[in-house]
């Protein structure tokens, strides 16, 4: 079986203030199904860009990216949107919910674009909310929910279409540490369910929850280690060639 994510030498540059910044430079990595991976780095290290590339929100300037066994680096805008709607769930730093939609409707959102029928959508979204412990808050508006609850709605949304990959960018960045810990426990629960998770963070306590750790520095992966070596699995060693 092919790995879920395999990039070979992907790079991405941005024009910034007259010069060109190489946000991600020649990154090769391989992530198997079921892994819980953290990408750690200081702000400006290119971790958000890497997440955008892995999440197919953006296209690399060079390199190849095989997602789920399929080459996606050259995929069109709409092609990437289709992959996102079926196979990728996003969790952002700010709980990004539509303010004028209820929690349940927010969770339904990916299913709308995946073309699921309304009745099935509602059922699936309710199950997903149930999984994050918010079964009774479905009809609340986002501003009636606490920050932690909002982030859990986001997690429900990221998992509702049963994606192959869950990508989280600083998922606890806007939460206090107790609430952040709850969210991280939820991630571990997802991991136990066999989901593949990539967390991008600058916080060590987040990175330490992962079973495998990359560190980004100036757009390059400079370290690949196991955050908790007792959980290190052989599959995690299947790394792409380093530059």
């Amino acid at each position: 079986m092919q790995p879920l994510v395999r990039t070979v030498g992907i790079s991405k540059s941005y024009p910034s203030g007259g010069s060109i910044v190489r946000a991600v430079s020649n990154v090769s990595l391989t992530i198997e199904r079921g892994e819980f991976v953290a990408v750690r780095g200081r702000s400006g290290s290119g971790k958000s860009t890497l997440m955008n590339l892995l999440g197919l929100l953006d296209r690399p300037d060079s390199g190849t990216y095989a997602f789920n066994g399929r080459e996606v680096a050259k995929l069109s805008e709409d092609g990437r949107a289709t992959v996102r709607s079926h196979d990728i769930g996003f969790i952002f730093q700010q709980p990004a919910l539509l303010p004028r939609a209820t929690a349940l409707e927010n969770v339904e959102l990916p299913l709308i674009y995946a073309g699921i029928s309304p009745s099935r959508r509602r059922r699936t979204a309710k199950d997903a909310l149930d999984c994050v412990g918010l079964a009774d808050r479905g009809h609340h508006w986002p501003n009636q929910l606490s920050g932690g609850e909002q982030q859990r709605v986001v997690i429900a949304r990221a998992t509702v279409n049963d994606p192959a990959l869950i990508l989280a960018d600083e998922p606890t960045g806007s939460l206090d540490s107790a609430t952040g810990n709850e969210i991280l426990s939820l991630f571990e629960a997802l991991h136990r369910d066999g989901r593949t998770i990539i967390v991008v963070t600058h916080a060590a306590e987040v990175a330490n929850r992962a079973r495998r750790l990359f560190t980004l520095h100036d757009g390059q992966i400079v370290e690949d280690g196991s955050a908790s070596s007792d959980n290190l699995r052989p599959a995690a060693l299947a790394m792409g060639p380093l530059p």
Binding site: L57, E77, A81, F90, A96, L98, R100, L109, I112, Y113
Partner: protein, 411 residues
């Protein structure tokens, strides 16, 4: 994503900002409303003019007595009773294209029938007048030549008189007192409806001219028993109207012994021309207002575009989020395009409803037939929809073109 789904999302987004949506469509409401109203008013006015021309009788010329010239100050038209029955007879006798020339003498008089009374125009005529006006009796009969010759006390009445005085009866053979003189009703006329002056043409009593002069009207005219209110001339051919007008002028000037360039003591009018001119003026006014309304539609479109652009900017994060969870560009484009189209169409429907209501109110006030053209409504709404879509294209394009990464980071 199904079109129904896009519709639902768009409708929901519009409901969130109800007041703003309502204000946005105001331009379209006013534009469509004005177009529908003005087209209906124009059509109604046109129909009213056509109807009046029709009830007037075709190819009709009126000869009215002129104003008395009293020491240089000209008095009101008709103050000098200069037209005579003989004038009418001579017009008919001597001019080839004249089908009839009917004299008429009239005055407002009180009527009494049984215990009811009414005041109306009593006109002395001979049956030629009804020919000129293309007016038939609905029931009963016309005057006989015997009745005309002897000045018999018989009357033909309009439909309004039957309603007012005979209380549901036919009116035929009933007795009607005009002033103090009892007349027998021999006929009831067809309904003609409102006349050019806005008064019902059916509110009238016709008696033989001879009877009118000798028994009810003659004395009040003073100057001469021969005086007439006007002569109605029916010309046999429309093409000969102006020719006949000139001939009548020449003939009457000769008969009245008016020499050289002295002013005539009578006037000749073509009432259809007056009505045509009035209809044309109304149509012109209506088309000017329609043009203004069309400008309002375009302004309404610009206001939709403006609000849609604001909305796209405001909802940048929402757009980014939708894209992140899998919305394709065309789905984002459709969402905003449908929002703009819904705004315009709802505005169009509300406008059409208000415009139609205003048209009904105006028609009712002016006594016109209500003619709300379904085509005006369909066209105005379709135009509104086209405007909504065309002015929504650019904002929708802007939304669809957003980079999801930039949109997600947008504050």
């Amino acid at each position: 994503m199904s079109p129904l789904e896009s519709l639902r999302i768009a409708a929901r987004a519009l409901r969130v900002n109800k007041l703003r949506s309502a204000l946005t469509v105001l331009g379209i409401v006013v534009g469509v409303g004005a177009v529908v109203c003005m087209v209906s008013v124009g059509a109604g006015a046109q129909a009213e003019v056509s109807e009046k021309i029709r009830t007037l009788g075709a190819n009709l010329l009126l000869v009215m007595p002129g104003a008395r010239n009293s020491g240089g100050a000209r008095l009101e038209s008709g103050t000098q009773p200069t037209l005579t029955v003989e004038d009418a007879a001579s017009i008919r006798r001597e001019l080839a294209d004249v089908q009839v020339a009917a004299p008429l003498l009239s005055r407002s008089l009180p009527l009494v029938a049984a215990n009811r009374n009414w005041v109306t125009v009593v006109a002395g005529i001979n049956p030629d007048y009804l020919v000129a006006r293309e007016w038939q009796v609905a029931s009963g009969r016309l005057f006989t030549s015997d009745e005309i010759a002897t000045g018999a006390k018989v009357a033909i009445v309009g439909a309004v008189i039957v309603e007012e005085l005979f209380n549901g009866g036919s009116g035929i053979a009933e007795t009607l007192r005009i002033g103090n003189v009892p007349f027998t009703v021999t006929g009831v006329l067809d309904k003609k409806g409102l006349g050019a002056a806005g008064r019902s043409q059916d509110d009238v009593v016709f008696v033989p001219l001879s009877a009118a002069k000798s028994r009810v009207l003659g004395a009040v005219r003073g100057t001469t028993r021969e005086a007439l209110d006007f002569i109605s001339i029916k010309v046999s051919d429309t093409a000969a109207m102006s020719e006949v007008e000139r001939e009548v002028e020449a003939l009457l000037r000769q008969r009245h012994r008016i020499r050289g360039d002295a002013p005539s003591d009578f006037r000749i009018e073509n009432p259809a021309d007056v009505l045509f001119a009035r209809g044309a003026a109304m149509r012109l006014l209506a088309s000017l207002l329609i043009a203004v309304a069309a400008v309002s539609l375009v302004v309404g479109g610009i206001s939709i575009m403006n609000i849609m652009l604001v909305s796209v900017t405001e909802r940048t994060r929402e757009i980014g989020l939708r894209m992140a969870v899998g919305a394709r560009r065309r789905e984002i484009r459709w969402q905003f395009l449908i929002e703009a189209a819904i705004l315009a169409l709802v505005g169009g429907l509300v406008g059409a409803f208000l415009g139609a209501a205003a048209a009904v109110a105006i028609a009712w006030k002016a006594g016109w037939p209500v003619l709300i053209s379904p085509w005006a409504i369909i066209l105005a709404c379709a135009f509104a929809g086209v405007i909504g879509i065309s002015f929504g294209l650019y904002p929708a394009h802007r939304a669809a073109r957003l980079d999801p990464i930039v949109a997600l980071r947008f504050e």
